[in-house]
Every structure is written in C-alpha cells, then in structure tokens.
C-alpha cells in the first residue's frame, strides 16, 4: 500500500502502480504471473475521471489482461478481494491481483461536494444534504435506541488514532483524549470533528492465488475462508437505522462459509469499517462480535484495545490511517494478512491470532462486505 495522504502528487495511476507493484514484489511474483486483475474504486466524482476503472488499467498492472472494476460504494475495499476470490475460486484463474485506489483530492473545493451527488436526485438532493447528515442521523438513532453516552463512542476515536501511531502509512495518527473528541468542533450533531476520518489519497493491493499455487509461492499463506456481501434497500429513510442488518446478513454468509458458529469466541481480532467512531461499534454488533448495544461498553472498558480481549482495528483504522475509500477497505485486508503472519511489527497484537474478520460498509448506509481470513 501507499501512504495515505490528504493530497498526493502522484496521479491515480501512479498510486495504483505503487501499491500493485509492492504487492506483486512482496510475494516474489512477476507481472506475467498475474492472470487477472480486479479494481476497486469509489465514485468517479472524486478522481474526476469518468469510467475511472478504465483510466487506471495501466497503473493497476492489467495491460492486456482480464480486468474489471467492482463497485459497492464504501464497501468496495472489502468487496474487491471478494471479487478477486471469485476470480480464483471459480477455477478460471490461478492468480488475481486486487487493487484499490482513490484520489479524493482532485475534487474541489472539497471532496465533500461530491457527496451531494449520492443523494436521490428527486427527493433529497434539492434539500442540499451533506454526507455527514445521514451519518449524524444514523449515529443519533443508534445513541437514542441504546442510550449511549457520547464519551463511550469517542473512546473509539482515541483508540484508533493511537493505534495508527504505529502505522507507517498513517495520515491522522494522534494521541488524543476523550475530552479532545468531545470538545472538538461540532459539524453535524452528534458528529464532531474528531469523530470522523479524513478524506485521503492512497492505494492498496493484494495478490490472491489458488491453493496449489499459493503453497508454491509461500510457506505461510493467509486463507480467505469466508466471504459475504449484502445490500439493503435504497429507501434508507424507511429503515430503522439503529442496527446494520445488512452487515449481519453479510457476516452470516461469511461465517457459514468459514464454518464459524460462535463469532465471539472464534474470531481473534477484527477490522470493522470505522469511517466514524460510532460505525466501529455499530459494525461490531452487526458482525455479531457482541450483543446489540453492547459494543460501546466494550470500547469504554478497553477490551478492543490492541492488547485487549478482542482487538478491534489494530491498524488504526480509517480514523487513524486515513480514508481513501476503497483503498481504506483493502488496507484492512492487508492488516489481517500482516497480523495473521505476525509481520505487523509494532502493531502486532499479542497472542497467537488465527482467525480474523474485516468488514466494510457504504452506499446509503446499506452495504455490508465481510471477509474472514485464517492463518
């Protein structure tokens, strides 16, 4: 992966190249060994290139190869490896290079402007919505239903920004306190400045291989044992936003495939999607790593710290490392890989992690994408 940055000098193609090249090099392959490529990238309105997937082909190492772009909004970063898994598990290919790229800084004056265009063009856009509105609405509903005090949610931001201090690619690694979060600028109540992840430029890539080929390439492959994805209705105002049912559905699909019956006991650590601090908690519940409404207590009591009982976002997550949307999701897959291979350096979680789950989320609070990986 590349560094995650507010603004990169590299073009999107160059970012994709740096990540793809690093991934291919890291397993000792050459580009000729890559049989297929899948690209994950979120809205074209960030990079400012229509059919962005086509534009990125050469940087992603897909010259004259089978190549396509998958797209499930913010959930793309974890769907991309699922799509890659489909390439390999179908038996059509032995290898698939999965690349995710985002260059949000191209969008002016602020990438936020592009988010207006995700709303329904008849019933919502004329109201001038900001992206933060929908998250504030969801967060508030979640807080209301479970009577969650804001400080317990803020603890997530504190943890993730601290975890990111050990991540060499991090954009927003910081030592902050719960008070700092609570005192930060109110953007759209209950969302404050330090509750949210930044907009970022960056790319990440992974190489997937079939079982036989993987064993030839490395002695310590990390297996994709479960995949799940799910999309809820687009009529988001018709749903009760307090619980991400779509994440639960996606998780069930992945757990069933991985043979996981009791996720709370069988999952050693998790990288749920955390573009906002409350989302980490929301998603822990959707992933069935705790009961509904219980996640804030786990965070508050320190159980989700890197050395806690259930480490969550040991990477530093989107809140700490940064949020180049699709690349941020794939960064979580990278983290699972490094942690499960015990190559995470200063970020290495203690013990002997064997099974982990990564998840991303997106669209109008609609998409859940889940991958279970095992050492």
């Amino acid at each position: 992966m590349t560094k995650f940055m507010r603004r990169a000098q590299e073009t999107g193609k160059e970012l994709a190249y740096e990540a793809a090249r690093m991934a291919v090099d890291s397993c000792g392959l050459r580009i000729e060994d890559i049989e297929s490529v899948t690209m994950g990238s979120a809205p074209d309105a960030f990079d400012g290139v229509h059919m962005k997937g086509e534009y990125l082909i050469d940087g992603a190492g897909a010259w004259r190869k089978p190549y396509m772009r998958n797209y499930v909004g913010g959930g793309t970063g974890v769907f991309a490896p699922i799509h890659g898994w489909q390439h390999v598990a179908s038996g059509l290919f032995d290898t698939c290079l999965v690349v995710c790229e985002e260059k949000m800084s191209s969008c002016r004056p602020h990438p936020q402007a592009a988010f207006l265009t995700i709303f329904d063009n008849f019933t919502e856009r004329p109201l001038g919505p900001n992206l933060l509105w929908i998250f504030a609405l969801e967060m508030h509903r979640y807080m209301h239903v479970h009577k969650i005090p804001k400080e317990k949610i803020a603890a997530v931001s504190v943890k993730n920004k601290k975890n990111a201090l050990d991540h060499p690619c991090a954009q927003l690694a910081q030592k902050i306190t719960v008070e700092d979060v609570l005192n930060s600028e109110v953007l759209v109540w209950p969302v404050q400045r330090l509750d949210i992840s930044p907009t970022s430029d960056g790319a990440a890539a992974v190489v997937l291989a079939s079982e036989d080929v993987a064993k030839k390439i490395t002695d310590s492959p990390v297996w994709i044992d479960g995949v799940g994805w799910n999309l809820d209705t687009a009529y988001w105002t018709n749903r009760d936003l307090y619980y991400p049912q779509y994440v639960e559905n996606a998780a069930k699909m992945a757990y069933q495939m991985a043979g996981i019956k009791n996720p709370r006991q069988e999952i050693d650590f998790a990288e749920p999607y955390d573009p906002f601090d409350y989302k980490e908690l929301h998603h822990m519940e959707g992933l069935m790593l705790c009961k509904k409404g219980e996640a804030p207590d786990l965070a508050w009591e320190g159980l989700t710290q890197r050395d806690g009982k259930l480490p969550v976002c040991p990477s530093g997550g989107l809140l700490g490392v940064g949020n180049p949307i699709a690349a941020a999701g794939l960064m979580k897959i990278c983290e699972l890989f490094w942690q499960l291979r015990r190559e995470a350096g200063k970020r290495q979680i203690p013990g002997d992690p064997k099974t982990a789950v990564a998840q991303a989320w997106g669209d109008l609070m609609q998409v859940g994408t889940v991958v279970v990986m095992r050492a």
Binding site: E10, T11, E14, V24, G48, G59
Partner: protein
C-alpha cells in the same frame, strides 16, 4: 404483470434538471511533472525508456505498462515525427459546429514508440496523410504554463 399504472398523457410527464456540481484540480503526477516542466522551461519533449521492453514511452510514465518495471531512463526526443493516424473534427466537445474544422492526430515522435495526441495546423485536411512528417510548434516561453497546450500544435515539415 410489471405495472398496474402507466403515464398516459404527455401532461403528466415530469422531469427534474440537475447536474454533478463538482470541479477538479488534477496533479500532473510524478512523471507528468517532469515531462511538462521540461516543455515549459526548455521546449523539449522527454520520453522514458524501458530497459526490458526496449520501448520509449511518451508521455513518460514511472512504470512500463507492459512489464511493470519502474522506469528511470529519461531521454530527450525529437520534436518531430510521423502522423500515425489523424481525424478531422467538425464539432467541439460540446457538440457545437466549429467555424473551422480541426485536425487531430497521433504523432509518433522520432525516437519514441508511442505517439502523442495533438492538433495539426497550417495544412488543409485533405493534404494530411498517414506517415506525414510534422513538427511541434511551441508557444512563446512567457505563455507556457506547464500543459500539453504549451505545444500550440504540430505543423508539416516543409518538403
């Protein structure tokens, strides 16, 4: 049964106008920065050679798309070359008819294996042909801003 009700009068048709209200600022990138600066400062066109594929890429890249190797061998190219293909456009990007048709061509500069896309002027389109020799006409240095448009156009090399 797909619908129980359909619009039956043009009076009932309803439309909403809108747009994607975004604008963009692109960086030229690592390779693009060096390429465009060289045009701006010195009116020179650079390419970059892949040691493995023996291809000279222009515009330059930091990588070879074919073998995916990182590229280091920057090389100055001639500002002239051959027309690989061309077309005469009668409309602008908005679909409005142009007062004067515009010729666009892919020009393979001498020393390069790829061709840059640019305008061809100072010639009637019926006189242009594939393989024709053309050369770059640069803007005045004071007018150059670090863009592909610092090359104003290509023109035929007088026989």
């Amino acid at each position: 049964m797909s619908f129980t009700e359909r619009i039956q009068s043009p009076e009932d048709l309803k439309h909403v106008k809108g747009e994607m209200p975004v604008n963009f600022l692109y960086t030229a990138g690592i390779a693009g920065e060096r390429f465009l600066r060289e045009i701006k400062e010195n009116a020179k066109i650079l390419g970059v050679r892949c040691r493995k594929c023996h291809i000279v890429h222009v515009p330059p890249k930091i990588y070879c798309e074919r073998c995916f190797e990182r590229l280091y061998d920057w090389t100055e190219l001639a500002c002239e070359g051959q027309i690989e293909t061309f077309t005469t456009c009668y409309f602008d990007a908005d679909g409005n008819r142009l007062a004067e048709p515009q010729i666009l061509a892919v020009i393979r500069l001498r020393g390069a294996n790829e061709g840059i896309v640019h305008r061809v002027q100072e010639i009637r389109d019926r006189d242009v042909h594939v393989g024709m020799e053309v050369k770059a006409v640069f803007r005045e240095k004071k007018d150059r801003i670090g863009s592909v448009l610092d090359i104003a156009y290509f023109k035929p090399i007088a026989p």
